[in-house]
């Protein structure tokens, strides 16, 4: 009898079971809704947090935009090159904060010429303090390879610190996204912003190097080190990214070191036989002009490097460096 009762379903039981089933389905759906991530993993960044690099350039002075100094001693040539442009006092005012962005791309020693020379970096730091009366000087770069090793083995970390600069190594939270207005590649892309955030002036220091992808690595390519993220994807469109970087970064001054030029197997080199001594250093307020001049040391013409024309078209500078009437001299 009891079994018979269990085999029967009355309206009441039916409604109760249907209600429980409905509640279960609703709970599952509610939980799913709660856990559902409509956006998925973020591939970009929050556009509200975008930053923009300020313009660090100084007012134009006719006949004092670019200097070329010949000599083997980087300390002497850089002093003279800056002096010819009006001295560091023109670029750095007392109490200002300066960031220096040397090329520290590799964990390799100065003898290989793959990075900015430590003596050159140190001398610019000293000039900023001694003549420019800078309040603070930062030296920063974002090598993809272990930054601490790059700063140590290149000698730049030690030289800059001893000259009084604060060396800033990249950390995740030092990067902020930026977008270049009208840019094709730099869109919501992280840059090494922290050392540039509260500074007054920005100086780039780069060696002249052969570059397997770009043809040449000089002042403009040096800004590649400000990019964060998986920036190697930009190698597919190297001319555009270099031109965009030159458009985005408006430095106070660039120093292009052609004392020893990496003629082959760049940008890493590896053998001292990759280098050729050219004993020339260029200081310029116009990075496009500096690189247009510098490419001759690699036996190239400005037209061989498409990024120069692109940057010129974007208003980053001129490839016609002669029009700037560069001051050329030699130091003994």
């Amino acid at each position: 009898m009891a079994e018979k009762d269990e085999t029967k379903l009355c309206r009441r039981k039916f409604l109760a079971r249907a209600g429980k089933a409905g509640i279960s389905i609703a709970a599952a759906a509610g939980l799913s809704r709660l856990l559902y991530d409509a956006t998925g993993p973020k591939t970009g960044v929050d556009t509200e947090s975008l930053v923009t690099l300020q313009n660090f350039s100084v007012p134009y002075k006719a006949g004092q935009t670019m200097s070329v100094v010949k000599g083997a001693d980087r300390v002497e040539t850089v002093r003279k090159a800056i002096e010819l442009l009006g001295g560091i006092e023109r670029f750095v005012k007392p109490g200002e904060t300066v960031a220096i962005k040397p090329n520290v791309a590799f964990a390799s020693p100065p003898i290989l010429g793959a990075t900015a020379h430590p003596e050159l970096v140190a001398e610019v730091v000293r000039l900023c303090y001694s003549r420019g009366k800078a309040k603070k000087v930062y030296v920063a770069d974002n090598p993809i390879y272990d930054p601490a090793s790059c700063f140590m083995l290149s000698g730049i970390g030690k030289a800059a610190s001893e000259a009084g600069a604060k060396v800033v190594l990249p950390k995740t939270h030092f990067f902020k996204p930026t977008t270049l207005a009208g840019g094709k590649l730099i869109k919501n892309w992280p840059i090494f912003y922290e050392p540039l955030k509260n500074i007054d002036k920005l100086i780039g220091i780069a060696p002249i190097k052969d570059h397997h992808r770009a043809g040449a690595s000089m002042s403009m390519k040096n800004w590649y080190g400000l990019l964060g993220g998986r920036r190697n994807i930009f190698h597919q469109d190297i001319n555009t990214i270099i031109a965009e970087l030159a458009t985005m970064v408006k430095p106070t001054l660039v120093i292009l070191d052609g004392t020893e030029v990496m003629m082959t197997n760049g940008p890493t080199g590896g053998s001292v036989s990759d280098l050729r001594r050219a004993n020339t250093l260029i200081a310029s307020c116009d990075q496009v002009a500096a690189d247009s001049f510098g490419c001759a040391f690699l036996d190239l013409k400005p037209s061989d490097l498409p990024y120069l024309a692109k940057a010129e078209k974007a208003g980053a500078g001129t490839t016609d460096y002669d029009s700037l009437k560069p001051i050329v001299t030699t130091v003994s």
């Binding site: 791309a105 020693p109 290989l112 190697n232 197997n265 590896g270």
Partner: protein, 337 residues
Amino acid sequence: MSLMPGRARRLESAISICLLAVLILIGLVVFVKQSYVDMGRFGIGPPTGPELEIPPDLASFVPAGVEAISETEIYDSENLYEKINGRAALYTDSGFKKLFAQRFVSKDDKNLIMELYLYDMGNVRGAFSVYGVQRRADVNALPAFPVSYAYRTSNALYLVHGKYYIELVGFSESAELLGAMIETAQKIQANLAADSDTEIAELSLFPTENIVQGSVKLHLTNGLAFEGLTDTFTARYKVGDQIVTAFLSRRASAEEARNVAESYCKFLIDNGGAAKPATDKILEGNIIGFHYETYDTFEIVLSIGAFVIGVHEAQSQELAEKLALRLVNKLSKAANQ
């Protein structure tokens, strides 16, 4: 309203439990899988590293007076740029598989540092390609060195060992460091399985007279800036004060060689070249000249059996023809041996 009998109900319960168990299992699998999502694929996390494997023990190749100052670093084609940046494409375009790198220092002098780069290029052709393209000029050969492709500069040593392209880079110019590098390279050659052929047959097909030592290069793609010339060897010759390039490329068949040679001739003519009469009938129809304001250059392209051969940018037709005929003779002799 009657329901199922007891037996059917138990069966139904069992099926339901099984279904629930399957659903729970699926849920668990999804949960576990999601825990291991590769954020690097979305550009917001570190890239997936090279697959785990036992790397060669690089420290076992260095001399007794040298010790490691870094861990062995391993790179694959996804992250090679982290180590060598803009030069990575040169390797990845040539069959690159892995890079193993480690830094070492002399126990007696901490200023004597060297870094060993062991590139696994998949086979000897890939290794030779990156070796040849990067070969420095005016370097010191290593005649006593027991490998065919090796040279040194004042601070570095470069060689091919089977599928491996090896660089030993000294952080200073030092005889002691160079000695350690040579010893390291010799140990690698003796103890590391090459896992590949160690010789490249085509290299012996170039005539040796007037050849610029160390000038032979292998272009796996875009030989002489022509897309159709893959797997192409070039060698430079110095005759008097003139430098001229000879090239050869082995194709799958004589027919393919003919087709590639014809395509390359057409490419040259499409780019401003003009056919020139030859003084030797074997070269008839195969000479293309380029006229510039102050000088002329000559190209010769022909197929011999399964080979596409020729001469590139000769400054005189006579020089181009002489070198082309020497190449033809060398190939003919090799074919008859």
